[in-house]
């Protein structure tokens, strides 16, 4: 009798458990949120891939990835820190967010994010390109998972450059060195009254430039203003004072879009944002060709270029939520999918297999000339450049932000002085540097 009662109770418990399982699968998908940078204001290829995931693997496993924010890395950095510190009005941390090491280093608690070694086996992590994985190791933890990597390249509006070159004799060879570029910038400004060059990352220009000339850019927690720094400053400031360098705030794409500049140095990933149309103030437009070239170097300097590209952090939550995020990330970094993802955005894949097996085929199938040119540049740089990545410093972001703002402001002020005849460009180059060093500190 007792046995029968126990059996009945067990049967009832089993029934309830089984119906409980069924409920979870039929409805109520586990929604995990994501903040990313892949697309920004324009069409986001990642969002399309996420829809693909949601309708296939996600549907099977009852997971739904929801994009809550598509912005730039700086904005996401700010939002993540606000959320992590529970600032007034701040949103909750998403389940996944893109991040540079500087964001993770600035978090109030490193345990807020998942150590990917808890979810990826050693063999799985070894399928990634070692340098990319190493960049995401912070405090002995695999805090950031690489998804896509980029670097910095030179973009040139070939249509407008060729038009000017026809009369000026400028050559594409001049665009391979900084010295050549600044010389052209001064000539272009003199000929047209417009800026020639826009550089998205002045801080990176100096950092990589100084390092390529054999000196350390950083000293303790600040910047070292050594001879190599002065060598990088001199032609850059001279061209800026002469009006050949765009100093206003905003991304390089803006001034190329309006024809106010014709050459830019920017992240390779910004190819998504370049338009093949230039629109002038009278509302007329012109179709142009934007091409990529390897990152310029200093004469006699090492061929060094910044390795860029955020990775993905996963916020600590519940094992179910974390597992859902990992399922998505493993899907996204599987070699074939990763190549599909990166080639739609102008990035480099992150696994060896993706690089060796799938990327060459994918590049052959590209049809957009801007992307074809970019991947040709990638392959060219892959063989001849050393990739440099920024050191992990807690105050890196502060150093970078202040440098960007102050260098532009000092040179804009210097340009105004030059236009007013307050000094020659040769004099103002060093005046502006002294002023910059004074305000920036060392």
């Amino acid at each position: 009798m007792k046995k029968r009662i126990v059996l009945c109770l067990l049967a009832l418990a089993l029934l309830s458990v089984m119906t409980g399982c069924g409920r979870k699968k039929d409805a109520d998908p586990l929604t995990v949120t994501l903040w990313h940078v892949y697309g920004g204001e324009v069409d986001s290829p990642l969002n399309g891939l996420i829809e693909q995931f949601n309708s296939t693997i996600g549907a099977e496993q009852n997971i739904r990835v929801k994009v809550e924010l598509v912005s730039n890395s700086g904005s996401i950095h700010k939002s993540v820190l606000a959320a992590a510190n529970s600032d007034p009005g701040a949103p909750s941390l998403p389940d996944m967010f893109v991040s540079y090491p500087k964001t993770v280093l600035a978090l109030p608690d490193q345990d807020m994010i998942v150590d990917y070694r808890d979810y990826f086996s050693q063999e799985e992590l070894e399928t990634f390109i070692p340098a990319f994985v190493e960049e995401g190791q912070i405090g002995g933890r695999q805090a950031i998972l690489p998804l896509a990597k980029s670097t910095e390249v030179l973009f040139v509006n070939r249509t407008l450059f060729d038009r000017w070159a026809a009369t000026s004799g400028a050559s594409y060879d001049d665009l391979t060195t900084w010295e050549g570029i600044y010389a052209l910038a001064e000539r272009y400004a003199a000929d047209t009254g417009k800026c020639f060059l826009v550089n998205d990352y002045h801080f990176n220009y100096f950092q990589v430039g100084v390092e390529s000339l054999g000196e350390n850019f950083f000293q303790n927690d600040g910047v070292r203003f050594g001879p190599a720094f002065e060598r990088a400053w001199e032609p850059y400031a001279h061209a800026a004072l002469e009006g050949g360098v765009w100093l206003q705030d905003g991304y390089a794409t803006e001034s190329l879009r309006t024809g106010d500049t014709i050459v830019s140095v920017a992240s390779s990933a910004s190819v998504l944002y370049y338009s093949d149309t230039v629109t002038y103030s009278d509302n007329t437009s012109e179709q142009v060709t934007i091409a990529s070239m390897p990152y310029p170097v200093f004469e006699g300097g090492e061929k060094l270029v910044m390795q860029r590209g955020v990775g993905m952090c996963t916020t600590r939550s519940t094992p179910e939520r974390e597992q859902a995020c990992i399922t998505f990330l493993k899907w996204l970094t599987s070699p074939q999918r990763n190549v599909e993802f990166v080639t739609s955005l102008g990035y480099m894949p992150v696994t060896r297999e993706a690089f060796d097996t799938y990327l060459p085929t994918a590049v052959e199938q590209l049809s957009n000339p801007m992307y074809i040119s970019l991947y040709e540049t990638y392959l060219q740089m892959q063989g001849s450049y050393t990739f440099y990545y920024a050191p992990q410093m807690e105050n890196y972001l502060d150093l970078e932000t202040r440098f960007e703002n102050l260098s532009r402001l000092k040179l804009m002020a210097g340009r105004a002085q030059f236009q007013e005849g307050a000094g020659t460009s040769e004099e103002l180059v060093w005046d502006t540097l002294d002023s910059f060093k004074l305000d920036y500190g060392t």
Binding site: D26, A27, T31, G40, S71, S281, T284
Partner: protein, 518 residues
């Protein structure tokens, strides 16, 4: 013999024991109590049907959804009209200061840029105060009338929040989506990656009607566009268009606000409920179809709802069902008082995924079933224990009587004790006459038994059964059968049970000795 059989039948017909009766009594009481509790719960609504509960919850949430959307659209329309009036006045003042007519702005990019800078302030101020993701105005002028499709170009400004995120609006960066480059730079506005200097009216449904509005009441000229793709971006937006009139009442363009899908989604979170997350939508209702492809969706956490396709609407007793054949939602909708560019009315909609509701329903049923089963089992145990406790002293008392105890063992129940006392005190030999006669007849027949048969009878009187006899009497089973047959024949009984009844009767009357006396 017939009377004996009747007596036996009567004994059999006495029904279940007192313990069993008590058990049934207690159990019936429990069932009655359960019925009373259930009736009370049903009457008070605690235990109402899940569909009925959902209906009540949907009613409340739908009122909130409607109020929120109606208020948002109403506020935006009011702010849009106020902005339109400011733009109209500024435009008049600008033209007067420049000494030019409105049409003379055509083909004059510099003056247009100057005008845009002047109109930026009312635009920016309204953006800061309004619940929207972008704001714009487009005037019926263009910087270059000689261009193809120039008739669609509208010089103006279109400002949007960049990298919209779930945080307060004051922290959002504003970027210039449309407007002269010179304007954006002088206002230090970052330019959108898909910037263009002018708005294309052909891409804003209904804007042509608004920008040529002939009436005098701005409220009558306002339109909400259908959800439309923002050119070259990944975003879908719904726009409010308000006519811009000059001092003379002539339409000079349009202005308005943008609600992007992302903004709407961030503004309308899901509302958790026992039936699943409740979702908010502002959706066109075309006949019996909810047009998802034209809808703005609030947060959709916990559902598979996307802004694609249509949902067929079918009314029900407790809720309205919305289904595309694959996914089904339950909810309510109510038309909003807003003019739309395509004439299809917009509705405030509250939805709950059917799957989560069915899970709740099933879970509720299982919980009640399990609860009821466990309750009944528990009550059965309680009833058994109580019944045993009640019957235990009575049985003890009866056993004492049967055992011939000299002292009466009290049961603790006065009525039972009185009955036992009455039986005990009854004078001997006061059995009913017919029973007395039967007993006497049986005793006489017993005297005819042989010695062996008498020994076997003695075993039966001692409580042994038929199968015990071969061993006790050292005879074979077939011999026992023969003796039994003779025993039954001589005593005139048909079965062992009948024989036992006689034995018990003699024992209870203290007359067992008569059976063995010769």
């Amino acid at each position: 013999m017939r009377s004996i059989r009747e007596a036996i039948q009567q004994k059999s017909a006495t029904g279940p024991s007192m313990g069993l009766r008590l058990l049934l009594y207690w159990f019936t009481m429990v069932l009655l109590l359960m019925a009373a509790i259930l009736s009370t719960l049903m009457a008070t609504g605690v235990l109402s049907h899940p569909a009925h509960q959902l209906s009540g919850t949907l009613d409340i949430q739908q009122r909130n959804t409607y109020a929120a959307l109606d208020s948002q659209m109403d506020s935006l329309t009011a702010q849009g009209m106020a902005m339109s009036e400011k733009l109209g006045k500024e435009l008049d003042a600008f033209l007067a200061a420049k000494g030019i007519t409105f049409d003379e702005l055509n083909n004059d990019p510099d003056t247009i840029a100057e005008l845009e800078k002047r109109l930026y302030t009312p635009l920016s101020n309204t953006l800061s105060a309004a619940s929207c993701s972008g704001i714009f105005f487009g005037l019926n002028i263009t910087a270059n009338t000689s261009l193809p499709n120039a008739e669609n170009f509208r010089a103006g400004l279109y400002l949007r929040y960049s990298g919209l995120q779930p945080t307060v609006a004051s922290e959002q960066d504003v970027i210039c989506f449309r407007g002269a480059a010179e304007t954006a730079r002088s206002l230090q506005l970052q330019m959108h990656n898909r910037w263009n200097p002018e708005l294309d009216a052909a891409l804003i449904p209904g804007s042509d009607r608004v920008s040529t509005y002939q009436g005098s009441r701005l409220a009558d000229g306002c339109l909400w566009t259908t959800r439309t793709e923002l050119l070259d971006t990944w975003e879908q937006v719904t726009l409010l268009c308000v006519p811009v009139l000059d001092g003379g009442g002539a339409a000079r363009g349009f202005c308005g606000m943008e609600i992007s899908d992302l903004y709407f989604s961030l503004s309308h979170s899901t509302v958790p409920s026992a039936f699943g997350n409740m979702l908010t939508l502002a959706a066109p209702i075309d006949g019996d179809s909810l047009v998802l492809s034209g809808a703005m969706l609030g947060a959709t956490d916990g559902s598979r709802l996307t802004a694609n396709g249509i949902l067929h609407i079918s009314d029900g007793k407790y809720y309205t069902t919305y289904s595309d054949g694959k996914n089904t939602y339950l909810g309510r909708h109510q038309l909003l008082d807003a003019a739309t560019s395509d004439g299809i009315p917009l509705a405030a909609v509250t939805l709950v995924p059917d799957g989560t509701f069915r899970s709740y329903e099933k879970g509720s049923q299982i919980a009640w079933f399990l609860g009821a089963v466990l309750f009944l089992l528990a009550m059965l145990v309680v009833a058994t224990v109580l019944s045993r406790q009640f019957v235990k002293p009575i049985n003890k008392s009866l056993a004492a009587v049967r055992g011939g105890a000299t002292e009466m063992v009290a049961s603790g129940i006065p009525e039972i004790d009185e009955l036992l006392a009455a039986i005990r005190n009854r004078p001997a030999g006061t059995l009913p006459p017919d029973v007395e006669a039967r007993l006497r007849g049986f005793a006489e027949r017993a005297s005819t038994l042989t010695g062996t048969e008498r020994s076997i009878l003695q075993y039966y009187m001692d409580g042994y059964t038929v199968k015990d006899i071969p061993e006790l009497a050292c005879i074979s089973a077939s011999t026992v059968k023969t003796h039994n047959r003779n025993l039954y024949r001589k005593l005139d009984v048909d079965s062992f049970d009948e024989l036992k009844v006689y034995i018990e009767l003699f024992a209870s009357c203290g007359r067992s000795g008569e059976l063995l006396s010769k």
